[in-house]
């Protein structure tokens, strides 16, 4: 005899495991602090790379202008602006990344907890059946 309750539970769990579950399991393998710190560190490198690319594009876009008008004073001014811009952008980027990964871990843990709860329910159903 088919147990509708059990089938529904198993379907929900299988669907979760096949889609979101894979990522959630990988995320929840870390402690929240470790996961967030690790990804924030990576984000720092990504952010730096992104900023360098952005500056590179800006320099290429205004290459002709810079070649014609660039002086030592202008070079230092632009350099200072670029460095300040880097600090501003990297701080915003890293803070945003930190919050994002923190939230991601919390949500993943929630879903994993629900999944574990469903496993317990399923085990209880099996125990009942075996009696």
């Amino acid at each position: 005899m088919l147990d509708e309750k059990k089938i529904k539970l198993m379907t929900r769990m299988a669907s979760y495991e096949a889609n979101q579950g894979k990522e959630d399991l990988a995320v929840s393998a870390y402690y929240r602090k470790d996961y967030t710190s690790l990804h924030t560190l990576f984000s720092f490198f990504w952010g730096t790379l992104g900023y360098v690319c952005l500056i590179g594009l800006l320099v290429l876009g205004s290459f002709d202008f810079l070649m014609e008008h660039l002086t030592m004073g202008m070079f230092f001014t632009l350099g200072t602006i670029a460095v300040l811009g880097y600090f501003v952008i990297i701080v915003i980027y890293v803070v945003a990344a930190n919050r994002f990964y923190n939230k991601k871990h919390i949500e993943a843990r929630k879903r994993i907890k629900k999944f574990n709860y469903n496993i317990t329910r399923l085990l209880k159903i099996y125990e009942k059946e075996n009696r």
Binding site: S43, L49, G50, C53, L57, L60, F63, A96
Partner: protein
């Protein structure tokens, strides 16, 4: 009446989607992938091998069975492949632009990467204004990022298509000159920036207005979004002398309004005429609540009537009137079922009658015997 019919159609569509969602999703993914690859190959078909219809179709089929993000990656690689044939410097610039999009957007929101593809596709169909309106209605303010990225990609493809020959000749002058020209042309394109400003403002206006608690917020938001699009592009035309087709703008915004109405029908069907304003309080707060009921019309169910041949020697069925009324489902017509004689009771009644008549017969026979009535007759 028309609205009722539309809601019935909506219900039917929901039922169809619920039944065949797996296939419909894959079909949509296939069309999206095919459209994106066609757009790229049609405009940048510099590498013969990649731009053949067979490769386009094969790539679309493969991407259909992979996650949606694979279509975005495949599109990016296809663009890079075509641009590689023009120049290595341009390839580097394009790769850097894609890398920036990945670092600042796709890394955090890979599931919405598909919106980046929608923008160039909408441009191809001459309805780019539909995307910010649709994303403003269904998304959040962060949706401006894919809209901006998609617009940049479209104009970048357009620029490469129109100036491939010039860029190739610049290759002879040196890679730096070529790359500088490419970057300058992409990021100093006034039309692109005006479109980006129009789309960003449109999306933010649509999002803000549709979140407001005014009646018909979605309709107002759609109209406001379309108006923002037209006004910003017109201002751009006047101030920066950007060539724009007003017919295209108006047509595109009519399409955006129509799409917005369809989205409202699908995702925000409410009946403002039955709205209620409530006010109550607890120990800490006063509450001013506006409640608008949702419209839900169930699609009519098909009933199959079976008409059988009337069988002879059929026993007369006694119909329970109360039960029949209950079956008809109209609660007004429901009346308490009256007590009626059931077939079992009939049988018992008939048996009782038979018993009585038998007793009477026996009685008359015994009386006749006693009184000798039978002999007298003889």
């Amino acid at each position: 009446m028309i609205m009722d019919r539309l809601f019935v159609v909506k219900g039917q569509l929901q039922q169809i989607y619920a039944a065949y969602s797996k296939y419909i999703d894959k079909a949509v993914q296939f069309v999206l992938a095919l459209g994106a690859f066609y757009l790229i190959n049609h405009n940048l078909g510099f590498m013969g091998m990649l731009s053949s219809p067979a490769v386009t179709l094969a790539l679309a089929v493969i991407c259909t069975f992979l996650p949606v993000i694979a279509t975005v990656w495949a599109s990016a690689l296809l663009i890079l492949g075509h641009i590689y044939t023009i120049s290595l410097g341009m390839l580097a610039v394009t790769a850097v632009i894609f890398l920036l999009m990945f670092i600042f957007y796709l890394k955090f929101s890979p599931k919405t990467a598909v919106f980046i593809l929608l923008m160039p596709l909408a441009f191809l169909l001459k309805i780019p204004y539909t995307v910010p309106v649709a994303l403003g209605l269904t998304g959040n303010p962060l949706s401006v990022v894919p809209v901006i990225c998609g617009t940049i990609i479209y104009y970048m493809i357009g620029y490469v298509k129109n100036s491939a020959a010039a860029l190739k000749s610049a290759d002879e002058e040196g890679m730096i000159g070529q790359v500088t020209m490419f970057v300058k042309q992409i990021f100093q394109n006034k039309e692109m920036w005006i479109m980006i400003i129009a789309f960003v403002l449109c999306l933010l206006v649509v999002y803000t207005v549709r979140k407001m608690s005014v009646d018909h917020a979605w309709k107002i938001a759609i109209a406001a979004g379309a108006a923002v699009n037209i006004v910003v592009v017109a201002i751009g035309d006047v101030l920066f002398d950007v060539p724009v087709s007003y017919l295209g703008i108006i047509g595109g915004n009519i399409a955006a309004i129509l799409l917005g109405m369809v989205l409202e029908l699908l995702f925000f069907a409410v009946d403002y005429s039955r709205g209620e304003k409530l006010q109550f309080e607890d120990d800490e707060y006063y509450y001013y609540v506006k409640a608008i009921p949702k419209i839900s019309v169930a699609p009519p169910e098909k009933t199959v009537k079976r008409i059988n041949k009337r069988e002879e020697h059929q026993e007369t069925e006694i119909i329970d009137e109360g039960k029949m009324r209950n079956k008809s489902g109209n609660p007004r017509n429901r009346k308490p079922a009256q007590k009626r004689r059931t077939p079992q009771k009939n049988e018992r009644h008939a048996q009782g009658n038979k018993k009585k008549s038998a007793e009477q017969m026996l009685m008359t026979r015994s009386l006749r015997k006693e009184l000798n009535l039978d002999r007298q007759k003889d």
